[in-house]
């Protein structure tokens, strides 16, 4: 049996605006199995980011259910949701979202602070991950001293620091040139091979082709899904 990491059923999301309710997601259903690698595509304004934010427990749906790793997110207490964001999910943003005042090491180590990890362990783990994304030389630099591609690597290292099962990335290469994008995607590919489930949003077909599965959004609905692939089959497809 394949374990499902994400199970979304009849998900609705409407934003309250001055002009009244503005529906963005309309009956979205999606199941993502452990080890899957999903690329979400679709035109601007189709609700991709809205969906990702709900998957990342940063926002709540208006209706419908979201079961993450076997737990219904709607029933969780605030502290539990914080713990999920801290340990189950690693979120990578288009705009990197690093703390400008902190060094790269401190940025990567920050989730560990909220996990209650000791200072020595934090630094050891964070420097390990910076090494993994090829930035060990810049450990004590600040985000404004490095390039966009490097910043995104730091953000990925931060997302990975608590060893999450799931990486969510909303247009992780949206601010990067194509060469840098390929480098970032190579990191994601490697992570997926390690068994980490990845869901990412992109506008570019060649980025989406890194994933095993493509899901297309249109006007708040999933209009195309290349289908969940069992992990055994993944091996055949890619190796």
């Amino acid at each position: 049996m394949q374990q499902s990491v994400i199970e979304v059923n009849h998900l609705y999301k409407a934003y309250q605006t001055a002009a009244g309710d503005f529906p963005v997601l309309k009956d979205v259903n999606l199941q993502v199995l452990s080890g899957d690698y999903v690329a979400i595509m679709g035109p601007s304004g189709s609700g991709k980011s809205t969906f990702m934010n709900i998957l990342g427990c940063l926002d709540m749906p208006t209706a419908g259910s979201y079961v993450l790793d076997g737990y219904a997110v709607a029933t969780m207490a605030a502290d539990q949701v914080a713990k999920v964001r801290n340990q189950t999910i690693g979120f990578v943003f288009q705009g990197f979202n690093l703390l400008a005042r902190a060094s790269l090491l401190d940025n990567v180590a920050l989730p560990l602070v909220y996990a209650g990890v000791s200072k020595e362990a934090r630094h050891a783990r964070a420097s390990l991950l910076l090494e993994k994304v090829g930035l060990s030389k810049h450990m004590h630099s600040h985000p404004n001293q490095i390039s966009g591609g490097q910043q995104q690597r730091v953000a990925i290292a931060r997302a990975l620091v608590n060893q999450p099962r799931l990486i969510l990335a909303d247009e992780p290469t949206g601010n990067l040139d194509s060469t840098t994008s390929e480098e970032i995607m190579a990191i994601f590919d490697g992570l997926n091979q390690e068994g980490i489930t990845i869901v990412l949003v992109t506008h570019e077909t060649d980025i989406a082709e890194h994933a095993k599965r493509q899901v297309r959004f249109l006007d708040g609905r999933i209009v195309q899904d290349t289908g969940a692939v069992a992990s055994t089959e993944i091996g055949h497809d890619h190796v």
Partner: protein
């Protein structure tokens, strides 16, 4: 985790130094003012208390002449209406433990080439006990000195300094001085008493036997009369009883009918002193209260800047929440920052307040007391202000919705 947060709070404080400094300044001024004002107030209180205990306890003074009416003494001639026999009668009253008739005047004192004009008190040996006034050198005079009107004198410290010089190279005991041309032998030197409540120097005094003063110094209008009689009661409890007894005894002795004006007045010195102490205490409280207002203003300054800080760092808060910060982590982060600003400000304020107190005491000679209690109060009030005024902004930060915070530009 807590130490990581402390470190971050410290960093955040350093991120905008000028702003942090200005915010802190409110706290510094507030705490400095509280510490300084309390030091001045407590100093005043202490010096009043010392004057009171120097005066002697449970004291009445009976003055010659009718009570003052609206500040002006109604004229009934200059002759004192009290006499030594009144004093002897008062001794017999229940609750009275000491009586000393007193007559006083000014005298010109000469020793060698030194000249000094001072107050002369003529009284009995008991006066010293009643006032709780000891000698720093020599001996007091005795009842036999009073009886035979010997020319002996006890000198206050100020008098000694003016006649014999500031240095201690001349021992005044046994020396002969001249008071109003007449020779007196110095028997003793009085302990220093400092100032009275109204600022008179009590050490600028010479005490001589009552009879000596009456017969040999001031001449005499009526033999045996005195200007005042000091009366000491046994305890606080009998004070009002003794006061009534003094009035009725003297009215009877002076043949004053009920309803008629007395030719003497009884004053409760202890009550007057206590009310002065009360005034000093009220002053001290008032000063503290006024200073506390600036502490409050400092607190509001902290709250203001923390609100600005929360708004500025909305995005940062969103990021922190997105990677797993709980509400209480965010709350603690901002609360710690506010507390840190107020505590650092408070420490600087205490240093400035103490320095100010020392300067005040050096330049005005006024007594100031920096008590550990006042420092502790200032410190805990400042810390509470940090918590109180930091809490609202911190809670505002903690309650932010993560996605809205992340979208904040």
């Amino acid at each position: 985790m807590f130490s990581a947060m402390l470190g971050e709070a410290w960093h955040a404080m350093g991120a905008n130094r000028l702003r942090t400094f200005l915010t802190m300044l409110g706290m510094v001024i507030g705490v400095g003012a509280v510490v300084l004002m309390m030091a001045i107030g407590q100093g005043a209180e202490a010096s009043v208390k010392r004057s009171i205990s120097a005066m002697g306890s449970h004291l009445f003074v009976v003055l010659s002449g009718p009570p003052r009416m609206g500040g002006a003494r109604t004229a009934t001639g200059n002759a004192p209406s009290l006499n030594v026999r009144d004093a002897n009668a008062i001794v017999e009253l229940y609750g009275v433990v000491g009586v000393a008739p007193v007559t006083m005047g000014k005298g010109q004192v000469v020793y060698a080439s030194n000249n000094w004009n001072t107050d002369i008190i003529g009284t009995t040996a008991e006066y010293m006990d009643i006032r709780g006034w000891g000698l720093s050198a020599g001996y007091p005079f005795s009842t036999s000195d009073t009886r035979s009107a010997t020319r002996v004198a006890l000198l206050g410290k100020t008098v000694v300094q003016n006649l014999f010089g500031e240095e201690d190279d001349v021992d005044p005991i046994g020396k002969t001085i001249r008071i109003n041309q007449r020779p007196f032998v110095v028997l003793g030197v009085l302990d220093s008493k400092g100032q009275t409540l109204d600022g008179r120097d009590q050490d600028d005094t010479i005490i001589v036997p009552l009879t000596t003063a009456q017969r040999k110094l001031f001449g005499n209008q009526l033999p045996g009369t005195v200007r005042q009689i000091m009366v000491q009661a046994e305890s606080d409890n009998v004070m009002s009883m003794v006061e009534d007894a003094l009035n009725s005894l003297l009215n009877q002795r002076h043949n004053i009918r009920e309803g008629a004006d007395s030719d003497f007045s009884v004053r409760n010195l202890t009550a007057i002193a206590n009310s002065a102490a009360e005034t000093a205490r009220t002053m001290s409280l008032l000063l503290g209260a006024i200073a506390s207002v600036s502490l409050l203003v400092g607190g509001i300054g902290i709250m203001n800047i923390m609100l600005v800080s929360v708004t500025e760092r909305t995005r940062e808060i969103g990021i922190r929440m997105a990677i797993g910060a709980r509400e209480r982590d965010i709350l603690m982060q901002f609360l710690l920052e506010a507390i840190m600003i107020s505590i650092v400000g408070c420490l600087i304020g205490i240093a400035i307040g103490v320095t100010g107190a020392v300067l005040v005491s050096v330049f005005t000679q006024a007594e100031v007391i920096v008590s550990s209690a006042s420092v502790l109060i200032a410190f805990s009030v400042a810390a509470s202000i940090g918590v109180f005024f930091g809490f609202y902004p911190a809670r505002k930060a903690a309650r932010l919705n993560p996605i809205e915070a992340l979208r904040y530009q």
